[in-house]
Amino acid sequence: MKGTQIFFYIFVMWLLIIAGGGLVVSIIAHISIQGFGKLDNLIDSIIKAGIALVLVVIWILIMSKIKNWIFHKQISH
């Protein structure tokens, strides 16, 4: 079938999205920052946003590596 590798790449992306969701819910969601008074919510959000951004960067790097691995032949061609 044409583009078999692309189907596989989509499937891997899907698995990574589900795994990433698991990380977000089971780790980041439980982080609670206290001791800053009215700024608690804001600081909590900034830290969670920072971790989420790091996760996104890691996700992009993983996808990039997988892309090179799956499409090595095509890209080098």
Binding site: G3, M13, G21, G22, V25, S45, I60, H77
Partner: protein, 330 residues
């Protein structure tokens, strides 16, 4: 439930018939005003009317406002206003090429009605693991999601019929997903997107009589993004768009900066002698979804379109599976 079914049939018919009926007139008007562009993938020089955004918007407004007359809600208002604002951004870009960052910023501003109308729930739902409440972060996500989805659909608008055909598959999948997660009202509001895309596909498919242009692609993408927010199915909606996401990802990771497709110097796709599409061997050309599809050998424009539709169907199936997984907790 019967009421919803009847209204669903009514607004689907309004969406489909409106676009199906007015697009030929729009093609005539655009051609008369010389608002045409060259279709570079045709052996014989062919000029195609552009943009088709106005007929897409009219179809969406007619059907969503009909729905609003029966079931008034802030969610429908948010869909109507955000989609219209995104159309205006795209239409401005169709008429006069906008600066690189202006379009994403203007699209981000188009998302503000969703926040101002309170048509969102600041919980991000994930399959298997539950949801996470992110009140402040969610506002940023709304501002981010509309330009991203708009541009993602715009980036897949590369061959005859691909953007409209792809959106038909993705939006009907989204409707099914919304029903599975019991968001019936938003499922109803999502029906016009699929039927508008389907009616537009009739004129956009190979050989295209009209191109959607930025106004059409951004309208479809922004409405899809708004539906994902007001229907609380952001992750599911992103999964249904994965082939288009991959296209944007491959493009960005090869050019390593945000640029418009028209700024590309080396074309990722070239033509064979019999005018089939063939992957470029130019190493400076960006890697795109179409280029990867063509890596195994030349194909006609129609064949490439069908490979993209098969990928869209695969992603749609994954999105539907994900919707069922929303009910499961581990």
């Amino acid at each position: 439930m019967l009421d919803r079914t009847i209204i669903g049939i009514l607004i689907s018919a309004v969406a489909f018939v409106t676009v199906y009926a007015i697009t030929p007139s729009l093609i005539k008007i655009l051609t008369k005003r010389k608002m045409v562009v060259k279709d570079y993938n045709k052996e014989v020089a062919t000029m195609v009317a552009r943009p088709g955004g106005p007929s897409i918007l009219v179809g969406i407004l007619a059907s969503e406002l009909t729905l609003y007359a029966f079931f008034p809600s802030n969610e429908i208002l948010a869909i109507v206003i955000t989609t219209t604002l995104a159309f205006l951004v795209g239409f401005a870009d169709d008429r006069k090429v906008l600066g690189g960052w202006f379009k994403p910023l203007a699209l981000a501003a188009s998302a503000l009605p969703i926040i101002l109308l309170g048509a969102y729930n600041p919980h991000l739902a994930f399959p298997l693991f539950g949801s996470v409440k992110i009140p402040e972060l969610y506002l940023g996500l709304i501002i981010f999601i509309i330009p991203v989805m708009g541009n993602t659909i715009n980036s897949i608008d590369v061959l005859n019929g691909v953007a409209s055909g792809f959106m038909t598959i993705a939006s009907f999948a989204l409707t099914i997903c919304l029903v599975i997660v019991h968001h019936y009202d938003i499922a109803l509001a999502s029906l016009p997107l699929g039927f508008v895309s389907l009616a537009f596909y009739k004129y956009h498919k190979v050989p295209s009589k009209i191109f959607p242009g930025d106004s059409g692609a951004l309208t479809l993408g922004a409405m899809y993004g708004t539906l994902s927010v007001v229907g609380h199915v952001e992750i599911i909606a992103a999964i249904a768009l994965l082939p288009a996401v991959i296209n944007s990802f491959l493009f960005l990771s090869s050019v390593k900066r945000i640029i418009e497709h028209r700024q590309i110097k080396a074309n990722p796709v070239v033509h064979t002698e019999d005018f089939k599409l063939m992957a470029s061997t130019d190493k400076s050309a960006p890697v795109t979804l179409v280029r990867l599809i063509l890596a195994n050998g030349p194909l006609t424009e129609k064949q490439v379109g069908f490979v993209i539709f098969r990928l869209a169907l695969f992603s749609a199936a994954l999105a539907i599976i994900t919707s069922f997984m929303m009910e499961i907790r581990i």
